[in-house]
């Protein structure tokens, strides 16, 4: 007999791999994305930093070379030209001087000044903006060649200024100043080209970095994904799921640990299963062992009871007691077996579609309670139930009401929609798992209320009334009007287990006029399934 020890996932459970919402979160915050982003950022930072440093150095070097060349050229040319230049100059000779200096310097604009005279090698060029006051004053201060980089009309220029000194002895300042303006656009373009080539190189660098990151992510993620899959399988109940251990890195360690854990889990699961199987076998064995003598006693007790009238009074009493107690023992063993079967998961629901009003009436009639109970049964309520188990529940609830409560006992069958209201108190064990995929407001239930008008149950008894062998206080137990002898103390627990087996539950509450109200909730499933 294969008792269903394990419950698989409920139908409609989330498929492995998570909900779409989790998937999208993973895209944003996933390991792969984070790795790629990190790699790219690192690559960018290093590329940009290296470029910046290289650019700065290159630019400085280029500029310095240009400056040095310009300064040297100017100085050499001016020295050469100034050697046969007579002071003081007039405008024309100054102009010639400037032109001469400029000729030897290539495409440079040369400005020569002598006190108020100014001569420019290129008369069309505007030079005022490029020769700054500070340069002029520095030159006039007369300590050698000066130069300055200026931006004029957004273009870079190098302006070299030098005072012309007398060649003889004391090297006095002659009053003649020469300024040469060199165009730096070519150098700027050179360094800009460097930047452009770096900019063009950045994209491949980023792509390569991303690819590398993906590769790295792959090597990390593949084992992680495998582990994830294996863990999922483990969670699904496949305890034989293992992962391949490759290499000696941390992931391999993790895989090894996973396998060891799974081994341990499988071993303990096997042990548990074995114990469960043993327990189930034990129940079956005990069941058989107990029932055999009970079967014999039950049979012969009948004979004793039948003949009790012909026995002497004492023997008659003894015979009747033996009969009654044998029946009670038989019931107790029966209930004990039943609850053990629930514990061992050796219970199968034998469900067929049935008319519940008929079922309730049949249960009452079977026990001769029809006259003692007021019924208000909704007709035509059909649901898929196990008739025998519903009978057990009805018999238990009504039997308790008749035994412990006071008349009138009313039994009400109705249908309700919405979540099962499980009264003020519930059995302390886990709540019913509602099987419908949209639990809550749309649920349809069949409810069977069994109400009595006795003293009711005190709150603490309501908490415990479904516990095994729990007997409510003496006030509620009336030994008179005993319909079927003493209960076994397991009836309510069995009734609740049977309700749960159907996906329902039993609640208990205080009636409006006192007394106890037990309510059975069963899901109203109409989909007929045939026990073929």
């Amino acid at each position: 007999m294969s008792g269903t020890g394990r419950t698989g996932r409920a139908a409609g459970a989330e498929p492995a791999g998570g909900s779409p919402r989790r998937r999208s979160r993973r895209l944003v915050g996933g390991l792969r994305t984070r790795l790629v982003v990190t790699f790219v950022v690192v690559a960018l930072i290093s590329a940009v930093t290296a470029t910046a440093l290289a650019y700065r150095d290159a630019r400085t070097a280029v500029l310095r070379r240009t400056q040095d060349a310009a300064v040297n050229d100017v100085r050499a040319r001016v020295t050469a030209v100034a050697a046969d230049f007579d002071l003081p100059p007039d405008q024309r000779s100054l102009g010639r001087f400037a032109a001469k200096v400029s000729d030897g310097l290539g495409a440079r604009i040369v400005v020569a000044r002598y006190q108020d005279l100014v001569a420019v090698s290129d008369p069309l060029a505007d030079t005022e903006g490029r020769i700054t006051v500070e340069l002029r004053s520095a030159v006039r201060a007369g300590d050698g060649t000066r130069f300055q980089r200026v931006m004029w009309r957004d273009e870079p220029y190098l302006v070299v200024g030098m005072p012309v000194t007398y060649a003889d002895g004391d090297r006095r300042f002659s009053g003649l100043e020469v300024f040469a303006i060199t165009d730096l656009r070519a150098e700027r373009d050179d360094t800009a080209a460097l930047l452009d080539s770096v900019r063009a190189g950045i994209l491949p660098v980023v792509v390569v970095a991303a690819l590398l990151a993906l590769l790295a992510a792959g090597t990390v993620l593949r084992p992680v994904r495998k582990l994830g899959r294996a863990t999922g399988e483990l969670a699904e109940g496949d305890l034989g799921s293992r992962v391949e251990v490759k290499g000696h890195d941390e992931l391999a360690d993790l895989a090894r640990t996973f396998n060891e854990t799974a081994d341990a889990l499988q071993a303990s699961d096997a042990r548990l299963r074995e114990q469960e199987a043993k327990a189930r076998r034990f129940v079956a064995d005990v069941s058989h062992e107990l029932r055999t003598p009970l079967a014999a006693m039950t049979m012969v007790a009948t004979v004793l009871e039948e003949d009790a009238d012909q026995l002497p009074p004492d023997a008659a009493r003894a015979a009747r007691t033996v009969g009654a107690e044998t029946a009670r023992l038989a019931r107790l063993v029966e209930d004990l077996m039943e609850i053990s079967r629930f514990d061992a998961n050796a219970i199968r629901l034998n469900a067929t579609e049935a008319d519940l009003a008929d079922a309730v009436r049949a249960s009452l009639a079977l026990r001769g309670w029809t006259e003692r109970v007021e019924v208000r049964l909704a007709e035509g309520v059909r649901a898929v139930v196990d008739r025998r188990r519903v009978d057990v529940i009805v018999a238990n609830l009504v039997g308790n009401a008749l035994r412990h409560g006071a008349p009138p006992v009313t039994v009400t069958l109705a249908t309700r929609t919405g979540p099962a209201r499980r009264s003020t108190t519930l059995p302390s064990t886990d709540p019913t798992t509602v099987t419908s995929p949209h639990a809550g407001d749309e649920d349809e239930w069949v409810t069977l209320e069994v109400a009595d008008h006795g003293p009711g149950l005190p709150p603490e008894a309501r908490e415990r009334v479904f516990d095994r062998f729990y007997k409510a206080d003496a006030a509620r137990t009336r030994s008179a009007a005993d319909t079927g002898g003493q209960g076994s103390g397991l009836g309510t627990a069995i009734a609740l287990e049977n309700a749960r087996l159907h996906g329902g539950t039993i609640g208990v509450a205080e009636g409006p006029q006192g007394g106890a109200v037990f309510t059975l909730w069963l899901p109203l499933r109409r989909t007929g399934e045939d026990a073929e």
Binding site: S287, H288, A295, A296, T298, M299, V300, L366, D530
Partner: protein, 240 residues
Amino acid sequence: MPHVLLIEDDASVRDGMELVLRRHGYDVDTAATGEEALALLDAPDGARIELAVLDLMLPGMDGFEVCRRVRARTATLPVIMLTARGDDHDIVTGLEAGADDYVVKPVTAPVLEARIRAALRRAEPTGAPGPVGAAGARPPGGEDFAGLVIDRAGLTVTKHGAVIPLPPTELRLLLELSASPGRVFSREQLLASVWDHTFLGDSRLVDAAVGRLRAKLEDVPARPRYVQTVRGFGYRFGPL
């Protein structure tokens, strides 16, 4: 004096049952093992036995096997299983092996007796359900349902001329269903009318009997023509 064969390995249970049944006017043969029981049935006076009460847990050959062999020998002997377990598996397997009914140990004398009486009534050659009327109203030789001939008077079923021996419960079930072809019977109705259960019967009795009946009547038991299932309601005979 109905003659009952008790097959039970536990001496006390056997004695207790025998005592009770004898007191209530039954002739009782007892057997402690399946082999012993089969030997009694095979004996020259084995035909006296009208019903077997069979414990499932037997030393040697178990009750299921005994049941199958009894069915192989005689189609008509009612068999009531005694199960000490009441496990679904036992009950279903026992019914599939051909038992007509089952009781769970410990069983009280009144319940056992009621079951024995009901099983014997099913085996009686009278009181067959059917259209009310004189015997002459029935077609001689029985009604023909597409090659399946059911003779309500003679209580025989033939298919294409070959007699199909049916155990009493299956025969009653077929008679009940075929009395109103096309009408749907719920399992509860069938339990009340065929098994005579005045208690809350087990619908598996009906399902198992239908299954055994189909195995004997239908060309393709998986696609029944005669005894059809009406999902969620029960069974009906036909329509052919």
